[in-house]
């Protein structure tokens, strides 16, 4: 067998290996990224959605944040304007997660059959408030 052919076989093995790793990786670690409305629609249509890992991007309902006494469990509600549901999370929240209005969060976890989203991770993003202030007042 020529060296070129041997190499082609070796290359195919590597390419197939990479493709296989990517495919199984996506299948086993991929997480749905949904809006609250999509999540509601999906769980209604298919109850197995209660058991898979899901990420939801939404806004925190102002005034809904409630911290437990030990400061490590936190409950709040999120919404996208049309659907709303409660979230519970135990762990450290990022600095950007405050009681201020208009906080966007990404919560990752499972939407339980109890109607509460059990988050394993909370990421918070605060739309640069000051920046928009300058823009609003500064430019016509």
């Amino acid at each position: 067998m020529r060296a070129g052919t041997k190499f082609a076989i070796g290359a195919l093995v590597i390419v197939a290996g990479v493709a296989g790793l990517i495919a199984t990786g996506v299948k086993e670690t991929g997480v749905y990224f949904l809006t609250p409305t999509e999540l509601m629609a999906r769980t209604r249509a298919d109850s197995t959605f209660h058991d898979v890992g899901i990420k939801v991007g939404a806004k925190v309902v102002p005034g809904s944040v409630r911290r437990e006494q030990n400061a490590r469990t936190i409950d709040f509600r999120v919404t996208d304007g049309s659907s709303e549901f409660p979230v519970t999370y135990t762990g450290l929240v990022p600095d950007t997660f405050t009681d201020a209005s208009n906080i966007e969060v990404i919560v990752e976890g499972k939407y339980g059959r109890d109607g509460v989203f059990h988050a394993t991770e909370v990421l918070a993003k605060c739309g640069s408030r000051y920046e928009s202030e300058i823009k609003k007042s500064g430019k016509a």
Partner: protein
């Protein structure tokens, strides 16, 4: 000042387009006067952009808050070094930084390239000018750093506290220098294709640029890891964030190129592949800037988002189509001169190394873009995170590490059984000794064991190569050990510098494997209460909460929580972690609070403490406590890598690889067995 800056931008645009036009339309071979115009335009361009940059710095230091960019990113109470660094803190300044540095690199490429390659230079000028022109157009029409406000705020907004870190003053420019300098090799590749001068000339002309950009990228990525580690406070240094991934992509393709180009120089193979890698690296560097600047994918770098995404997308597509079309047209001229003769050859090892690097790059790109791909194809957004990237890249990375050891050991063309035996015995034994001793020490983590055993193997190859070279020199020239070592390296910097880089890489891998033994705990403590943490080395850390103190400092209000640390009952000091609320000079809060991490490092492990907040404003504090083994070795690996890279770049000295190819081909069997003998 803004007027002058603005004028310089327009001047730069016209100079760039004029030079590019002169090069393209004037056909340099036929019109030497136009060729000179094209080359000179790069100097004019650089001068115009340097003046523009000075104008922006002037505005920043003068606290001219009427300039929107100055108001947005600085404030009166911002420390001076950060006022300087605010130049690249925001999008508009970054674009000016990009354009300015690229124009300087473009001019340097004209000035420093040997006259032998003069025929390429007008085309090189055309390409660098056009890329600069793109950035200038983006500034002029979408993100002008000299834009003025209708009113003058009393104070600026100040710099994002996460950017107020010494690492942050050098991490972005380093990374940008890496991204930017890839344009020069790309320009040479396009110039070679356009002028049909496709011998190895263009490769020699731009080789140092490829190493330079690779070095900047390496330094930028490592500094980025350090910044993430000390500033973001989640306990690690690499989170497979889209922006981190974007910086890794061109690094991977450049690394592939640095290896595969040796096959082209020595055997005349892989010409198409190499041009493809350079084009891909350039596109990925633009893609990286696009990901960072467009915010198309949610990222920890979201403070860098801006409105120029569409410009970048158009530029990216346009460059890709034009470059690959050009490559397609010149395809027949890039016929390989040699072919693979044996699987037991260095060529084969390098080919597999390239496949693995490109495979890693592809999987990282795929994972990064997967939310977008899945939404487009299946209508549902699916994201993948660190578990995906680790799963795919740990095996690929270890395969690559193994090749790092195999490549240098194996002969070009065809290795004999005798050669294989002679080369492999000592390194393989080293790897096995490492494996057995780790097993004896009770370590049972499969991936970590594999990584460390392979690292032992690679270290064995490097030591063997140095040892044999030194021994040969001592025998031939009767030199002392240090003299032999110095001469060996000096006479063949590229080869031995490359080995030092390999040591850097294996050091990284050793450090990454340490992550398998990470320990984390979250605790809430009242003053005087103690938490215990067991390190993977068997030590017990006792951390006693001392209390929370609050005070004003410089441009911020600080809440600091401190822990008294004992290891195995012996006091080793105090660790403090802070929450900082930054304020402007009127005492108003700016930005969200940020965290300062408390870290105690040694070569074995880091104790990493984050103060997560107090309970209801009392002295009771919540902490995230982490033991990160071997983190110090990441930074050491970076330092070794950079030393190795500088060694390969150091000017002067005989370069074995720049000999004519016919010679090297004829004399190949000799140098491969003992490089020192052949010298």
């Amino acid at each position: 000042m803004t007027l002058l800056g603005q004028f310089c931008l327009w001047l730069a645009l016209f100079t760039a387009l004029w030079g590019a036009g002169a090069a393209f339309l004037g056909r340099p071979e036929a019109r030497p006067d136009l060729a000179r115009t094209a080359i000179r335009s790069t100097y004019g361009l650089a001068a115009a952009l340097v003046v523009a940059a000075l104008c922006l710095w002037k505005g920043l230091f003068a606290h001219d808050f009427n300039i929107e960019y100055v108001a947005q990113y600085t404030s009166r109470n911002l420390p001076t070094s950060y006022v300087f660094a605010a130049f690249w803190a925001g999008q508009k300044g970054s674009l000016l930084f990009w354009a300015g540095i690229l124009s300087l690199f473009g001019a340097a490429a004209q000035g420093l390239t040997s006259r032998r390659h003069a025929a390429l230079l007008p085309y090189v000028a055309a390409v660098t000018n056009l890329v600069v022109a793109f950035f200038v157009i983006t500034m002029l029409f979408a993100a002008n750093p000299f834009e003025r406000l209708l009113f003058t705020p009393e104070d600026g907004r100040g710099l994002n506290p996460q950017l107020q870190n010494p690492g942050m003053t050098i991490h972005p420019p380093m990374l940008y220098l890496g991204y930017i300098s890839i344009t020069i090799p790309f320009a040479f590749a396009v110039a070679a294709l356009l002028s049909k001068r496709l011998d190895t000339g263009w490769i020699h002309a731009m080789r140092k640029w490829t190493i330079l950009s690779w070095l900047f990228l390496s330094a930028g990525i490592t500094l980025g890891m350090w910044w993430a580690y000390v500033e973001l406070g989640w306990g690690g240094y690499w989170s497979w964030d889209p922006v981190e991934n974007a910086s890794l992509l061109p690094w991977l393709t450049m690394t592939a190129f640095l290896h595969s180009v040796m096959i082209q120089e020595k055997r005349g193979m892989l010409k198409r592949w190499n041009v493809g890698l350079i084009v891909a690296s350039f596109l990925l560097s633009i893609f990286g800037t696009f990901i960072t600047r467009s915010g198309i994918i949610a990222s920890v770098h979201s403070f860098t988002q801006g409105s120029v995404g569409a410009f970048f997308l158009v530029f990216l597509v346009l460059s890709a189509v034009l470059s690959f079309a050009l490559l397609y047209v010149r395809w027949p001229l890039l016929e390989p001169e040699g072919q693979l003769e044996s699987m037991a050859s260095r060529e084969a090892a390098f080919l597999f190394n390239n496949l693995a690097l490109v495979g890693i790059a592809f999987s990282v790109l795929w994972g990064t873009l997967f939310p977008i791909i899945s939404e487009a194809v299946r209508g549902t957004k699916i994201t993948v995170g660190p578990p995906f990237f680790n799963r795919v890249n740990v095996p690929l990375g270890l395969f690559l590490l193994a090749l790092t050891g195999i490549g240098p050991l194996i002969a070009w063309r065809k290795a004999s059984a005798q050669n294989l035996q002679r080369q492999f015995i000592a390194p393989v034994t080293t790897g096995l000794v490492v494996l057995v001793s780790l097993l004896a020490a009770g370590i049972r983590e499969g991936w970590a064991l594999t990584a460390w055993a392979l690292a032992g193997f690679v270290a064995g190859t490097v030591v063997q190569e140095f040892w044999r070279g030194v021994r040969a020199r001592r025998r031939m020239h009767g030199e002392s050990l240090p003299a032999a070592l110095a001469h060996l390296v000096a006479r063949n910097r590229r080869r031995y510098g490359g080995y030092v880089v390999h040591v850097g890489i294996l050091t990284y891998m050793v450090a990454f494997a340490g992550l398998a033994f990470k320990v984390t705990r979250e605790v809430t403590l009242s003053p005087g209460q103690t938490a215990e943490l067991r390190s993977p080395y068997g030590h017990t850390y006792q951390l006693t909460h001392l209390g929370v103190s609050q005070y004003n400092q410089l441009n911020r209000f600080v809440s600091a929580a401190s822990l008294e640390v004992k290891r195995d009952g012996v006091g080793i000091g105090r660790l403090t972690s802070e929450k900082r609320q930054h304020r402007d000079s009127f005492g108003r809060n700016t930005f969200e609070p940020s965290t300062e991490v408390g870290i105690r490092s040694d070569l074995r492990e880091d104790l990493y403490v984050v103060y997560a907040g107090s309970v209801g404003g009392t002295d009771q504090a919540t902490y995230a406590l982490t033991i990160n083994p071997l983190v110090m070795w990441v930074w050491l690996g970076g330092a070794i890598l950079i030393v190795g890279g500088l060694m390969t770049m150091w000017p002067g000295g005989a370069m074995i690889t720049s000999r004519r190819r016919s010679e090297t081909q004829a004399g190949y069997e000799a140098p491969l067995v003992g490089a020192g003998v052949a010298e």
